[in-house]
Amino acid sequence: MIRLEHVKRSFTVGDQPVAALRDISLHIAAGEYVSIMGPSGSGKSTLLNMIGLLDRPDAGLYLLAGQDVSQLNEEQQAQVRRDKIGFVFQFFHLVPRLTAAMNIELPLILAGVDPQERKQRVDELLASYGLTNRADHRPEQLSGGQRQRVAIARATIMRPAVLLADEPTGNLDRATGREVMALLEGLTEQGVTLILVTHDHEIGDRAQRQLVMVDGQLASDTRQP
């Protein structure tokens, strides 16, 4: 599903180049559940953004479902993001003026799906995430857990093959975090490839495959027996 070969990425801070990814080669099969852990600044988010096509490698190759996506132009990359990738963020990033239902609907609107089908799909998802009675609430009227569930609904409404979550529980208490994780893990059982960045070992250890990053490099890659 995802194949990275010798991917490098560095940023210029002041006039010093800072290497965020040194030389990453990685293969993730369809339907895998992968956690990425490691100290702060080790390049976890940069790697996730790279996989999510929000960032481009300075060098190296990135194949998504067999397609060399690093060569695509911005327009084409946006389309790949829309159709194949879902994002879940630590800070939810819901649009504050839109209701929960409208936030979830957003990717469908961008994809030009017709309004009737949109409504039906949003309603289904609201129901299965237990958010039906929160459909018309704006984000500020929702709890953290509810916000993250709305964000996950938004990330999955296009039925993407890959779900990328950058510290999805980082802003939630332990109990709510567990609920959100149950939701995400439920999705992996439906065949979604889930890549999860976390600082929480309890959460990271539940994944089938665990990556540890240190200083822009993969320090270990272990699989659950």
């Binding site: 946006a78 609107i109 030009g112």
Partner: protein, 402 residues
């Protein structure tokens, strides 16, 4: 993303920032309203002047003694002659032209008018029966001058409405006698009250036959000859024929000036239109200012909505779509505000029109169109830069909360 969805989303974000949106709308609406009101005023002034001028008569050609142009020196001037006067026979001769429907010679002077103890100084106009029709005057009572030979000095007069009041008060005027200088004139009629037009007040006028006026003022000269051409298309022919007839009568000397009402009207029209255009243009500058304001506010809005833009990109909006969203916002904003400004301007013009009923106020359609187009144009033009900036935003940075 469909156009409907784009517009809905854009209007949603405009409504989301209510104060900001209202302020931008206000700036743009005031600009449009200013253009509408100011051009309405200019156009009102133009229509007023043209209307006043047209009410003097239709298809008028006017003959004045003397040359108004300085080109060429006539032989007469070299020997120190004063230019030849315009006389009654000149007027009679003009009737030979078949482009001329009718004409009225005019001579003017002032005299003391009295009826018993009541008396006052009046302006006396010497003319013929044709004057009534040519100048579009109307009778209040009695008859106008009799339609006789212009050379006949009969002792009848027509009074302006105000003169009639002052000399006769409640007495019957028609059939009464008025003394002008040392001569007595019988009143044959009274003009309808008209008020002032183009600085000329027929209410304070006494009209007598032109020959009588010549006797009264002891002169042969005419102030001018008013000619009515047979139709609009005949104006120029009437003018050139009048010129050539008078040229022949004045032994080849061009010592008269023949002007057409159309030419004067056209000059006024040009001047006043230019004025309207200038005022409208100045008002349009305020629209450009409003455009710059919109650009500023949109740039601020983009800074505030960085996360939203980053998110839209992350969930698959290509840069072109982001640009479209911001264009749509600017277009909606300018459309709604320019329509509001238009309405505001029309209301303003209506109120001013009520306050000055004599001014036929109304914004010309071209000014309204230009104002709306300028508003829309500046709104969209000034959103190009903010929209491009939004589209270029790096989603990673936009979503990061550092």
């Amino acid at each position: 993303m469909t156009l409907t969805d784009t517009l809905l989303f854009a209007s949603g974000s405009l409504r989301g920032a209510r104060t900001r949106t209202l302020l931008m709308m206000l700036a743009m609406a005031i600009g449009v309203a200013a253009v509408v009101v100011l051009t309405a005023l200019g156009e009102g002034a133009r229509r007023y002047v043209i209307g006043e001028f047209s009410s003097l008569g239709t298809n008028l050609v006017i003959v004045l003694p003397g040359r108004s142009e300085t080109s060429g020196i006539s032989p007469g001037m070299l020997v120190g002659q004063i230019p030849r006067e315009l006389v009654l026979d000149d007027a009679q001769a003009l009737l030979r032209s078949n482009a001329i429907r009718r004409l009225a010679p005019l001579s003017v002077g002032s005299a003391q008018a009295s009826n018993g103890a009541r008396n006052r100084e009046v302006m006396v106009l010497g003319s013929t029966a044709q004057l009534l029709a040519i100048r579009h005057m109307e009778m209040g009572e009695g008859q106008f001058l009799p339609d006789t030979d212009a050379r006949l000095a009969s002792s009848v007069c027509v009074l302006g409405a105000k003169i009639r009041r002052e000399l006769f008060a409640n007495e019957a005027a028609v059939g009464g006698w008025v003394k002008l200088g040392d001569r007595r004139f019988r009143v044959s009629g009274v003009l309808k009250e008209q008020g002032e037009s183009m600085g000329f007040n027929t209410d304070e006028l006494v009209i007598i036959p032109v020959a009588s006026a010549h006797q009264l003022f002891n002169t042969q000269a005419l102030l001018r000859i008013l000619i009515e051409a047979k139709g609009r298309d005949e104006i120029l022919r009437a003018r050139s024929e009048a010129e050539s007839i008078l040229l022949a009568r004045h032994s080849g000397e061009r010592d008269v000036t023949v002007i057409t009402q159309d030419a004067i009207l056209a000059t006024f029209d040009r001047i006043l239109r230019a004025l309207t255009l200038a005022v409208g243009g100045i008002a349009a500058i305020s629209l450009a200012v409003a455009g710059i304001l919109i650009m500023n506010v949109m740039l601020i809005a983009i800074a505030q909505r960085t996360q939203e833009i980053g998110l839209l990109k992350a969930i698959g909006a290509p840069p072109a779509q982001i640009r479209k969203l911001f264009f749509a916002e600017a277009a909606l904003l300018s459309l709604v505000s320019s329509l509001a400004g238009w309405a505001l301007g029309e209301i303003g013009s209506f109120v001013i029109g009520r306050a000055y009923p004599t001014l036929p106020i109304g914004a010309p359609w071209w000014a309204v169109l230009a104002a709306l187009a300028t508003a829309l144009g500046t709104g969209i033009l000034f959103s190009v830069m903010p929209a491009r900036r939004a589209a270029k935003l790096d989603p990673v940075l936009a979503l990061a909360r550092r």
